[in-house]
Structure formats: C-alpha cells, structure tokens
C-alpha cells in the first residue's frame, strides 16, 4: 500500500511544487492538499479540499482519507497574505494547534513534517553571528518569528505525547529561486530597493529546488529533529542588490518604516512587511551543519547560486512574455489564414455548383 500524504496550504508555491513532485512518485498513493484558496497552478492527481485550519474538521478528514503523513507547510509570513495580523496569527498558531490536536488523536498518522523559519532566532545587534538550532531566543523577533516559535512549541508537545510519530521540523532560511513568491523575493525585485542607511545585513538563501528536495528526502528517509535549512555561504544585502542589477536606495529607518505602508498602496508586491524590515536591518545567518551531518542533506545551490538563478530567471521570464506574445500573434495569424482559406473554399464550393 502506498503512502497517503496531506499537505497544508497547498496554495503556497512550495507546497504546489512538492505536490507535483509527489505525483510522479508511484509509491505515493494519495495526495490531499488543503487550503483556504485553491492551488495556483494545475495539479494532476492531488485532491484539493477547501479547509479552514482554524476549524476542528481535520480529524475527520484524516480519518476518512487514511492519511499517514502530514506535511504542515501552513505558515503565513505577512498579515497581507492572511488578511490582517489577527487572521495571520490565528491561521498560523490556532491552525497548527488544531492540526496537531487532530494528529494526536489519529491512529493512522506516522510522520509529520513541520515548516518553521530561521525567523525564530529573531534578528538583533546583540545576537551571535551564526545561529545553531539550540540558540532559540524567546523574544526579540517579529510577528512571523513569534508565530513560528509558537508552532514549534506545540509541535514539540505533540512529539512528546506521540513518540511513535516521526517528526521533522525545518527552519527554512529565506527561499529564493526562479519561482519563489515570498515577501523578500518581491522586495528584492523592486527596481530601486530601499535599504536602511548605515546598515548592510548578512543574508542567506535556500534555493527553492533544494527546499523541495529536502522535503522529499524527509518523506523518503525520515530523520527526527529540528534542522536549519539554507544554502552555503552568506551575502550582504548590497551584494544581492548589485548582483540583480538593481539600485540601492539607502534611507533612515524611520523614513523606511513610514514609507512602507504607502508602498503597499502603490502596488502589489511592493510592500515591505515587518519581518523583512527587521531582516534588512540586522540580518541573520543560521548554521546548517546539523542538516548536513545529522539529516544528511547537501544543498545543491549556494546562497549566491540562489540569488543568481532568482534574478536570471526573472529576466528570462520577461523575455518569455515577449516570446509568448509572438507565439500568440502567430497563432492568431494562422487562425485568420485558416478561416480565410475556409471562407475561400466555401465560396468556391458555393460558387461551383451554381456555375455548373
């Protein structure tokens, strides 16, 4: 009997990629994706169910579908995506509580993968340069980091009560790559990137392909524990911006904070949410030794590779758009010629007998 997998927040770009990968795996018998909104792209055999995680419906779903593995990727990083800070907190924390409560009751679930973020470490000038997994701070973080911390706390409680469930928690660094749709990715795509005057934070990135591979490996060869996940190497924000051929616009923090809400009004994808502001102020680097040595995963892309691919692919996409336009034009042309020929043929056909 194959595996039966539940993925939460299937609408997130990485969940979608994971589902696509799992669909190709013959050992995976059934995939169920739940979310408030339907998945963005097309999926072959993944079943989608509109579910509000805050409501106690998950146990019924898990029982009726015989789910044995849960990949909990439901984690909103910005109030904007979730519809307000209150909704974000509820979706993140209450959603996780509901899910974990259901898993604790369930008899079928054998494995749980939890998405967390390196934001749990916060970002602060007092912090050590590199965070290892045991350096979690209680305070000094943003709403996103706090939600991640709370989710991890509930996950630990679940792990303590259900020792038979193999649980892996990944603290993802910022995910970047051709298809990455994250607040930080949007920020880095601005043609003129506002930065904080006098500060140049250290950043690290995980390529989206590595993130997907990591989740797949965790499903195939489960190793319990908490792991930081990031590509090798560190870059300064200024380096990232320059590599992308963008312009840096340094401004004092109060000006940036004041301008951030107006940016959101100016257009979608232009907002700078609080956790990004914190990150571009102080930066954050996590140690990935445990991921390599204990979990046994070697990221294929370094931080620099992720940045390069991110910008290269976006530029390519713009090219693709013009190519697509050309293709459409060709299609339209073909269509019109075909129609024209048909009309011509029809007219000759129509004329033919009459002439005869």
């Amino acid at each position: 009997m194959g595996r039966r997998i539940l993925i939460t927040r299937i609408g997130w770009f990485l969940s979608h990629r994971l589902a696509r990968r799992l669909e190709e795996d013959p050992d995976v018998e059934y995939i169920l994706g739940v979310d408030l909104a339907p998945p963005a792209g097309d999926l072959q055999r993944t079943e989608y169910l509109q579910v509000d995680l805050r409501k106690p419906v998950l146990l019924k779903i898990i029982e009726s579908t015989g789910i044995d593995t849960v990949v909990h990727l439901n984690l909103y990083s910005t109030p904007g995506e979730a519809g307000g800070r209150g909704a974000m907190h509820d979706l993140n924390v209450i959603g996780a509580m509901q899910l974990f409560a259901a898993i604790q009751r369930s008899e079928t679930v054998k494995q749980l993968i939890v998405r967390s973020s390196t934001a749990v470490y916060g970002a602060d000038p007092n912090d050590p340069a590199v965070f290892t997994e045991d350096m979690m701070r209680s305070s000094r973080t943003d709403p996103f980091g706090r939600d991640s911390q709370e989710i991890e706390t509930y996950a630990r409680e679940l792990a303590r009560r259900r020792r038979d469930i193999e649980m892996t928690t990944f603290r993802f660094a910022n995910i970047l790559g051709p298809g990455a749709d994250t607040p930080l990715a949007n920020y880095l795509m601005m043609p003129v990137v506002p930065t904080i005057l006098g500060f140049d934070p250290r950043l690290q990135f995980l390529h989206e392909d590595d993130a997907t591979d990591l989740l797949v490996q965790a499903l195939e060869r489960p190793v319990g524990g908490v792991f930081n996940a990031s590509g090798d190497g560190v870059m300064y924000l200024s380096q990232v911006i320059r590599q992308g051929g963008r312009l840096e616009l340094p401004m004092p923090l109060p000006v940036l904070s004041a301008a951030a809400p107006f940016l959101r009004l100016a257009g979608r994808g232009l907002s700078i949410p609080p956790h990004v502001v914190r990150l571009i102020h102080w930066g954050r680097v996590a140690d990935t030794r445990r991921l390599r040595e204990t979990f046994g995963f070697e990221p294929r892309y370094t931080t620099r590779d992720a940045v390069r691919e991110f910008y290269a692919e976006r530029r390519l996409r713009r090219v693709t758009r013009t190519q697509q336009a050309a293709a459409w034009e060709r299609e339209l042309h073909d269509f019109l010629t075909r129609k024209g020929q048909e009309r011509f043929l029809a007219s000759t056909r129509g004329r033919g007998p009459r002439d005869l």
Binding site: P125, P128, G198, I241
Partner: protein, 336 residues
C-alpha cells in the same frame, strides 16, 4: 626635473614604452628589449596581489594594471566577492589596511616588542588593555599584526553596542570583527582564527585620564573560559600610548544616558577645539606581545572549574599590568 623636450610620439614605435605616466602622458622611456614597456613600467607579475585585488603600487600604472583595476571595480559593482559567515570581506580589508600604515608608523610611531610571540598558525586569543575614549587601539593592533609575518588578520570581538551604530557596525563587520559573545568566539577559534579581545570593555575605553594604565576589572572572564575550551593559547598584549590619545577629563553621565551611550567624554581637546578635537594626540606607542598563556596542557574539565578560570584570568591580567608599567618607563615623555 628633466628638461622639457619635444619628442615625436608614435605609439606604434616598437622601442618606446607603451605605458602612460602618472600625469597621463605617454611614457617616453625606451622599452626593454623583448617587452613593450620600459624598466619602470615593466608589469611585475610576481608582486601582484594573488587575490586579484588592486596592484600593490598605484604610482605607475601599466595597461595591465588599469585593466585589473577596472576588472576589480566591475566585480565589486556586481557584488561578486566572497565574505565569510561573520561578514568578513577580506578583499576590502586588505585594501583598507595599508591606509592605516601611516597612522601606525608615522603618527603613533608604534614600537613592537615580541611580535614573534604572535602564533603564526592556529587559533589564539590576543587579550589587550583597552583605553583612549575612542578605541583606536583595536585599529592599531590590527595594523601591527598584519604588518608582521605571516600577515594574519585579527578578528576583534566588539561590544554589541557597536553593532547598533550605523556605518560603524558595517565597517566593523566587513573588516572581520564580530559580537563579543561566547558563541562567536568559539566559532572563530574553532576555525583557527586569531581573535582579539579587550576584556575591560567600556570600563577600559571610558575610564578617565587620571586612571590611566590601571587595568579595570575583566568582565566575567568568559573569554578565558572559551579559550580553555578551545585549547587555544592566550597572548596578553600590553599597549602603551593609547591612554593619551584622547585624555578624558570628565564624563557627562546624564548626557550619555540621554543619548544611549556608555559614556560622554570631555577630553583635553574635545569639545574645546571643535572638530579639530577629534584628532588624537600623537602619543608614542609601545605594543608588547607577552609570553603566551598555554591552555592545552590544562585538564579536560578545567574550563568548567571556576577556580581554574580565575587563575588563568589573573595570570593574563597581571602579565598585561606588569608589562604596561615596565614599558611606560621606556618612554621619556608621552610624545616620545
């Protein structure tokens, strides 16, 4: 000065040097046989920086050097340079270090004693006294260590307050320093780096002139514990001269508290002399690297024995204090 003379400039003339002089005029020297350049402008392949950084001398630029510089600038503009996890930008640092050479050699005329005691490889902890209101001692120590074989980079531990200051925090990180905390010290030592710590911290830099050359309390001795754990030797460093750069006459505590600073100094020259008061007094410096305190021979669990840690801390402290008093006698006056 050579007499001005009219020389027909023919750039394709085979026996003339192809280089451009500092003044932007074509070089008029004869080219060395078998080469396109004269003896002065001969591109020296051996002396060029191996990292692809700037050529060591900017005095006379050959065409190759100019291309190198442009390539270097292009690379920097594209953000294509490596930093380590702490944010250390080696390339930039090696560009900046020669700039402090005049400060070390001509301004403070630093005499160095015992530079052979700087470990040439492997992890080590330099523990130095801290003074001078504005911590120039960190900069000078870096320059001194880098001047001597094998040109190691000092990785300073800087108080967390330093990382909240705009621009300063950037420079500090990019030149290889990091937050003074146990985790970072351990990581640096494990990586085999030469780490510098000023155990007196703000108590040292912020002390008044009348307390000069009196070592302040050494934090909690955390740095000794880490060095013992990492089995790295501790090299006590006694710096004479830093105390007189900005003699602090008074400390305006209320103003400091208002501005969130550890101290607000009134020095002999500031604010009396206005912006000029920011110039340090050119005192004569003597830096001595003392006999290293080895930690490798200590028992395995010594780092978790507070008494053993205190003993080592005391040994380091006394070594610095003794050397300070000894070297103070080497100077006839503050200035020389």
């Amino acid at each position: 000065m050579p007499e001005a003379q009219v020389v027909p400039i023919n750039r394709d003339e085979p026996d003339r040097c192809r280089a451009v002089t500092v003044r932007g005029q074509p070089c008029r020297n004869r080219a060395v046989e078998g080469s396109m350049f004269c003896r002065i402008h001969q591109p020296s392949s051996g002396s060029r920086a191996p990292t692809g950084g700037l050529p060591p001398s900017l005095g006379s630029l050959a065409e190759g050097d100019v291309t190198d510089i442009f390539e270097f600038l292009r690379r920097r503009m594209r953000g294509e340079y490596e930093i380590d996890v702490f944010g250390f930008d080696r390339e930039l640092t090696e560009l900046l270090l020669p700039l402090i050479r005049p400060l070390v050699r001509s301004y403070f005329r630093v005499d160095v004693i015992g530079n052979e005691r700087i470990p040439s490889t492997g992890p080590a902890l330099l523990a130095a006294n801290h003074a001078g209101t504005i911590p120039l001692d960190g900069v000078v120590l870096r320059g001194v260590v880098w001047e001597h074989e094998p040109h190691r980079h000092v990785r300073e531990l800087v108080a967390d307050l330093g990382f909240t200051i705009p621009f300063f925090s950037q420079v500090v990180r990019k030149t290889g320093a990091t937050v003074a905390c146990v985790e970072d010290t351990m990581r640096l030592l494990k990586a085999g780096e030469l780490v510098a710590v000023f155990p007196e911290g703000f108590k040292g830099v912020g002390k008044r002139f009348k307390e000069r050359y009196r070592l302040q309390r050494f934090g909690r001795g955390g740095f000794v514990e880490v060095a013992m754990q990492a089995r790295a030797p501790i090299v006590p460093v006694a710096i004479v001269g830093s105390e007189e750069t900005y003699p602090m006459v008074a400390n305006l505590r209320p103003l400091a508290r208002l501005l969130g600073l550890p101290y607000f100094p009134i020095t002999a020259q500031f604010p009396l002399l206005g912006p000029l008061g920011l110039l340090p007094i050119p005192s004569k410096w003597v830096i001595e690297f003392c006999e290293p305190v080895e930690t490798a021979h200590l028992p395995e669990d010594a780092a978790s024995d507070p008494m053993a840690v205190f003993e080592v801390t005391d040994q380091v402290r006394q070594s610095i204090q003794r050397t300070l008093l000894k070297n103070l006698r080497l100077r006839r006056s503050i200035l020389g």
